[in-house]
């Protein structure tokens, strides 16, 4: 059991193995995203019932909540990749960390933007410096920090090390974001999406949200694999397997 896990884990150390396998994975994820996102947008925007207090403006939840959840998950993924990269020196982990940062930053921005748009009609303000909103803004700046570090340092190994340390140190922000609404008085309401509890809304509102979240995760995986594959080809361009690959592609 342990030895098979070890073998499975060490496979990830090979960029070639990752490159060959990830094509199929990315296609499946792309297909899931293509099915889930349009379904839930149409369902959520046209067929789900309006909220008893907020009316139709609550429908922005179908974009806001999945984007916010993903922005946080992506940072945790980057911290895990950073750990693997630092301890086991796996090249694929460095590549994944670098490729995930801009995607996570985009979703973090999307969550902040949709939150502001939603806040204006319901709360009466675009922005308020409460613990949830502020910690989410810090997350966006952390993403910018990781992207800046990666592009500021020429040497890929040093850049990966610096970014991994930044990710690991600042991942402490994620539990702060998550529990900010429970620990402090905030304007932001407590979590909508709880895996351990019964959802705080009826099924016909909650199902499109669930499908959208699955779709957004699949989309994230799809884009992450595309970006990682690109990055691997660029970094490994001097190796034999990439040259052979290019030769085969150019003949075909």
């Amino acid at each position: 059991m342990w030895s098979s896990f070890k073998r499975w884990f060490h496979q990830w150390g090979s960029p070639k193995w990752f490159y060959e396998r990830s094509l199929v994975w990315s296609r499946w994820l792309g297909l899931i995203a293509l099915l889930c996102i349009p379904t839930s947008i149409i369902w959520g925007l046209f067929f789900a019932p309006a909220d008893y207090q907020q009316g139709n403006s609550f429908r922005i939840i179908y974009l806001h909540v999945p984007a916010a959840v993903l922005a946080q998950s992506c940072y945790v993924l980057m911290a895990i990749a950073g750990l693997v990269g630092l301890v086991w020196k796996m090249k694929v982990a460095d590549v994944v960390l670098k490729s995930a940062a801009p995607i996570g930053a985009s979703f973090c921005f999307l969550a902040l933007f949709t939150g502001a748009v939603w806040g204006k009609p319901t709360w009466g303000t675009w922005w308020v410096w409460d613990a949830r909103l502020t910690s989410m803004l810090i997350l966006l700046f952390l993403y910018f920090g990781v992207i800046a570090l990666e592009s500021a340092i020429q040497d890929t190994i040093t850049a990966a090390k610096a970014a991994a340390i930044l990710c690991l140190v600042s991942v402490v922000n994620i539990p702060i974001i998550k529990y900010s609404v429970d620990v402090w008085n905030t304007l932001h309401q407590p979590a909508t999406f709880k895996l351990t509890e019964k959802p705080a809304m009826p099924m016909e509102m909650w199902l499109p949200l669930l499908i959208m979240t699955i779709g957004i995760y699949a989309f994230f995986g799809y884009v992450l694999f595309l970006r990682s594959r690109n990055e691997i080809i660029e970094r490994e361009r001097r190796t034999l397997w990439v040259r052979e690959l290019v030769e085969r592609e150019s003949v075909a």
Binding site: A50, D51, F58, G124, V128, D130, V169, L187, A200
Partner: protein, 147 residues
Amino acid sequence: MNPKRKQRLLAVTFIVFGVGAAVGLALFALSQNINLFFNPTQVEAGEAPVDQRIRVGGMVVEGSVNRDPNSLAVTFDLTDYQGVVTVAYTGILPDLFREGQGIVTQGRLDAEGIFQADEVLAKHDENYMPPEIQRAVDKANRAETSY
């Protein structure tokens, strides 16, 4: 696991937990300052500073909203089910403002203990439901209380 990796893993774990503990302690020390607003109980107990810009949050007490018929001035009571604070405000209230709704107000506490608000923000909870269900819930509540 080879010793070099073990050493690196230990170092990384140490850094992560060290930073986590440091930030945790700092936030614990600052926890009062991070709160967005004071509760009515805290205001009644005199914990809120007088004549400084602060926020007070709570539920609007049912039947306490008094609108001035000639202007936009309005007064209402805020409660956290323990303390009560009277708020005076002049201006347009957000859509979600209603009796029984949670709100956050920004302004100054005057010498008589009335909160002079210059901004009112509505707070809503994480429960969403279609209007028909809300009507059904209200109906059930009314039926229960009429017994």
